[in-house]
Amino acid sequence: MIKLMKGNNALVEGSISAGLDAYFGYPITPQNEITESMSVRMREEGRVFLQTESELASVNMIYGVAMTGKKALTSSSSPGISLMQETISYMAGCELPTVIVNVQRGGPGLGNISGAQGDYFQAVKGGGHGDYKMIVLTPSNVQEMYEMPKKAFYLAFKYKNPVMILADGVIGQMIEKVDLNELAKYPDEDEVFNASDWALTGCKNRSSRFIRSLIMEEGALTEHNYKLLEKFNKMEVEVDFEEVSTDDADVVLVGYGTSARIIYDAYLNLRDSGFNVGYLRPKTVFPFPSKRIAALADAGKKFMVVEMSSGQMVEDVRLAVLGKSEVQFYGIPGGGVPEVETIISKVKNMM
């Protein structure tokens, strides 16, 4: 069924068809449609909805639901997501499957309410305390806002780890055609979502369980960290990105989310005027497509990274390229939107 929908609303439909058990949220622009639509749709579906007193409450509520092996999601925007960082670290420490949606806005501080990408470091490098990682999915259209919750829950339960959908205000507010198709089942989905061997469900017919991240015995937390590290490394197989005509490209344009839409215009324009450029859009920014970028760098490609920030993902591109080729950055922080014409002229200068 094809519909015209806002990104935020599509995410709600996608979450519901992914089997969401509970939603908790707090009002903050530019993600309010998620909370509002959840308040209607979740109740229609007879599932749990609660508007909370703060993002601290919301994130701790999905933490609680995850303890019992059920699917819970919260959504917010940059300042609210900052309030959630402590508990996200707890989720990683306790190995709990949760989904957190960040519809990024301009920052720092109260910032503004337009789309931005200044929370990349927080999401990918860990905004909370301790060594942990979060799988981070980056939608760049309304269809992906619909489809990504299902994938996010699958990965969250598969790795028993928090997963973030890192969108931005433009994607959230944009209205596009979306096919509300039946989301495909993962082959091992039933097994992955079955939490009966670890979740807290009341100790009937089994010994009691506890789930916690406080690990005080000598050396035990270090061991726990090594176990988590192994898991984070395994997440590498989940890397996902879209790539167009990079083989014969001299310069590869790299961008995610709304920036990906902008560089795609520049890419088409440059190709039309005979310039060999490629396009690479990470759909996961953790795990980051470092291997692929390294391979392109080995093949002598240069890179133009475009972000709605002062440059954060560009550091991961540079890490992948390790100086083997030129990496340029063009970005506008504070809720600004990069210009296609500027990208075109900058890329031409790299040729």
Partner: protein, 241 residues
């Protein structure tokens, strides 16, 4: 009356200081759980504080919440698992300081959960600092000259929450004497039964000894509750709507 260790308590020594009220509360709570036969339906939420290790002693499913957030965690567990018995066990720092807003709104929504609030007028685990409940002139490691006006006034949680419409049951008890401990057990049982009968938000505030942070012997700390703390925090039922 039976004076034998309840089933719901694991057979293990515990880490609390000599004379600490937590041990007594853990036991009477477990006795109630046995008597109501709900051990297998419980999902409990432990705090950050001395009682964070509750799950080492409680033989029922327990999770650990970030500091101050048990009421939110419990709210969500109960709403998505309505047939489970969900309670939080929190100290005064956890509930009334960092977790004050969660406490307030969980009560305001009348969540059908139970909160066991252990008030020992200090932060025990971190070495005896001032808590919201610390009394005027009480010496702690952060009010070495005694608590003064500039440090605020002791927060009376039962009185505070009693004005909230959807709160069902509030009682303050103590575990500083055999008689008080029996009354405390009765209050715990009533609060738990409220949840089983879907009556909504119940909170039992339990004055407990913390000899280490009060610079007293365990026996003196019994008297401290009798003479001082139960005057600042009067025992009794504050709401039973």
């Amino acid at each position: 009356m039976k004076f034998e260790m309840p089933e719901s308590l694991k057979k293990t020594p515990q880490h609390y200081c000599p004379g600490c009220g937590h041990g007594i509360i853990h036991r009477i709570l477990s006795e109630v759980i046995d008597e109501l036969n709900i051990r297998e339906k419980i999902i409990a939420v432990a705090p950050v504080g001395c009682a964070v290790f509750g799950y080492l002693y409680w033989d029922f499913d327990t999770c650990e919440a970030p500091h101050g957030r048990p009421p939110s965690v419990a709210t969500a567990i109960k709403r998505t698992n309505p047939n489970k018995v969900v309670f939080t066990y929190q100290g005064d720092g956890d509930l009334a300081a960092i977790g004050g807003n969660e406490m307030l709104h969980t009560a305001n929504r009348g969540e059908n959960i139970t909160i066991f609030f252990v008030n020992n007028v200090c932060y025990g685990m971190t070495g005896g600092q001032m808590a919201p409940t610390t009394m005027p002139n009480q010496v702690t490691t952060t009010t070495t000259q005694g608590r003064t006006e500039e440090d605020g006034y002791p927060m009376k949680v039962c009185e505070l929450l009693s004005n909230i419409d959807y709160v069902h049951y509030l009682e303050r008890v103590a575990v500083n004497s055999p008689a008080n401990t029996l009354k405390a057990k009765a209050a715990i049982k009533k609060a738990m039964e409220n949840q089983l009968n879907g009556k909504g938000f119940s909170l039992v505030e339990i004055l407990a000894m913390c000899p280490t942070a009060w610079y007293q012997t365990p026996v003196e700390s019994l008297q401290m509750i009798e003479d001082t703390i139960s005057k600042a925090f009067p025992l009794g039922v504050f709401k039973d709507s």
